[in-house]
Symmetry: C2
Subunit: 270 residues, 2 copies
């Protein structure tokens, strides 16, 4: 089953649009996990197991593993998600972007080494920096379009061809780059009006929407702006507001409650 | 000593502008290295030791290590370069780009874990995606501007504010983002006229110039377009044309010859 099919099936089966982001920072772990060699895996596994009932996808952010020399724990974590939550896609958030020959290596990293179902990529280097990922049949490629951070406007909002750059990226993705139907786009929840514009450009293409929770995006406005006719089409990501909902040994149950509440809030507006 | 100072000193001391790119692909290694668990490190170490006399910097590309689960060999390699070639900067080619909190993790990866002197980053997410690297005093940050690949034009050549986007990036880097003097820019050798324009915008800022060798960039045109008044200012990178100059057990001496020849050709036009 392709990434897009898995995602559509997961949305329907779980009745959730929530993507749980896994950004593990050991300094924020509860005392019982500190100073353990496999703390990152243990923390994330507990979060996955607790929030799984309320999520339709997971998004580990590779930087948090790489900074701690914990690539092996990321491999273990993705294997654990596939084993315990079959059918829930894993998006490796890596925001890769490089020339074709190097992109082939990054695609191997994401899809062969880590067995991710999809990976995030950066469009600045153009189509031949994205194409090698598409050679991995059925895997998903989620292209940065309008990001949720303050500096996102520095380039993405520059006017070109009569529109802001991010809209040109959305159009390239929808009309030129998506021959095999593997693409999605990242559009931040901090800009609901822009989500609406992007949805208008890309039709049913899945949108990965970070920025609710710690970054302050408004859930109602986000869902109303980004939903497809079927009330889905979005991976609404929350990372810190869920995984650090509790900071003591109850962190997993606090994360579960935060995930359930986020899913339910999203569902109010679908 | 800061990255920029090290680089300037290295250019003067070695009388070379050559940056040797380390993109190890085990399938291209000579038979004697095949099937060895530390083949990637051994191959790169032999290249570094053979080409060191002709280079002023090295640029390992992290994707080639990550695809093969060889982060430990990348750590070893950078430590080996620092030990055997003190004063020659190591640029970690990673083209990272993410929101501030995640960029902090990538900066730790590049500067603390790998001890790179500089890292390449992608500007699509704007200044707050670059700022966390600058917090590492003295380290260098080399921002993608005009890349050497065919798809580079898809976004970078879009007209905005009356100029192509890559020129706006050059101007942002030179005028707004470089308060502490840590920045450089990536400008591909496949576009010498654009190197000249960028040099005009950024003054003495170092330019990392990939694209000679396997990608076909013209050395004379590149050097004439990119040199500063002092005949330096460029890290002219060649990867595949040097490291795969020989494919048998003479690969290291073939790489040395190719590096020497490239350095000498560059020096003809300084």
């Amino acid at each position: 089953m392709s990434f897009i099919e898995s995602l559509t099936t997961a949305w329907a089966r779980t009745q959730s649009l929530l993507c749980v982001g896994l950004d593990p920072e050991p300094s924020k772990f509860p005392g019982s996990l500190k100073n353990r060699s496999d703390a990152i895996f243990d923390f994330c596994r507990a979060i996955v197991d607790a929030t799984g009932p309320y999520a339709s996808s997971f998004k580990p952010q590779i930087a948090y593993f790489a900074a701690h020399r914990a690539e092996d724990q990321l491999e273990q974590l993705i294997a654990h998600i596939h084993e315990t939550h079959p059918g829930l896609p894993v998006i490796l958030d890596a925001k890769r972007g490089d020339i074709g020959s190097t992109a082939e290596q990054y695609a191997r990293e994401a899809f062969e080494r880590y067995d991710a179902d999809a990976v995030t990529v950066n469009p600045y280097m153009g189509f031949d920096s994205i194409e090698p990922y598409l050679a991995h049949e059925g895997r998903g490629v989620i292209v940065l379009c309008r990001t949720s951070n303050p500096g996102g406007s520095d380039l993405q909002f520059l006017e070109t061809q009569g529109r802001p750059l991010y809209q040109v990226v959305a159009q390239l993705a929808a009309e030129k780059w998506n021959a095999a139907g593997q693409l999605g786009l990242v559009v931040g929840a901090t800009f609901p009006k822009e989500i609406e514009v992007v949805r208008g450009i890309v039709g049913e293409m899945p949108l990965l929407i970070p920025g609710i929770g710690a970054q302050g995006g408004d859930v109602e406005a986000t869902v109303r702006a980004g939903r497809t006719a079927g009330g889905a089409g979005m991976l609404i990501n929350s990372s810190r507001a869920i995984i650090y909902a509790g900071r003591d040994d109850d962190f997993a149950s606090a994360a579960a409650q935060a995930a359930k509440k986020t899913r339910d809030t999203i569902n109010l507006y679908r």
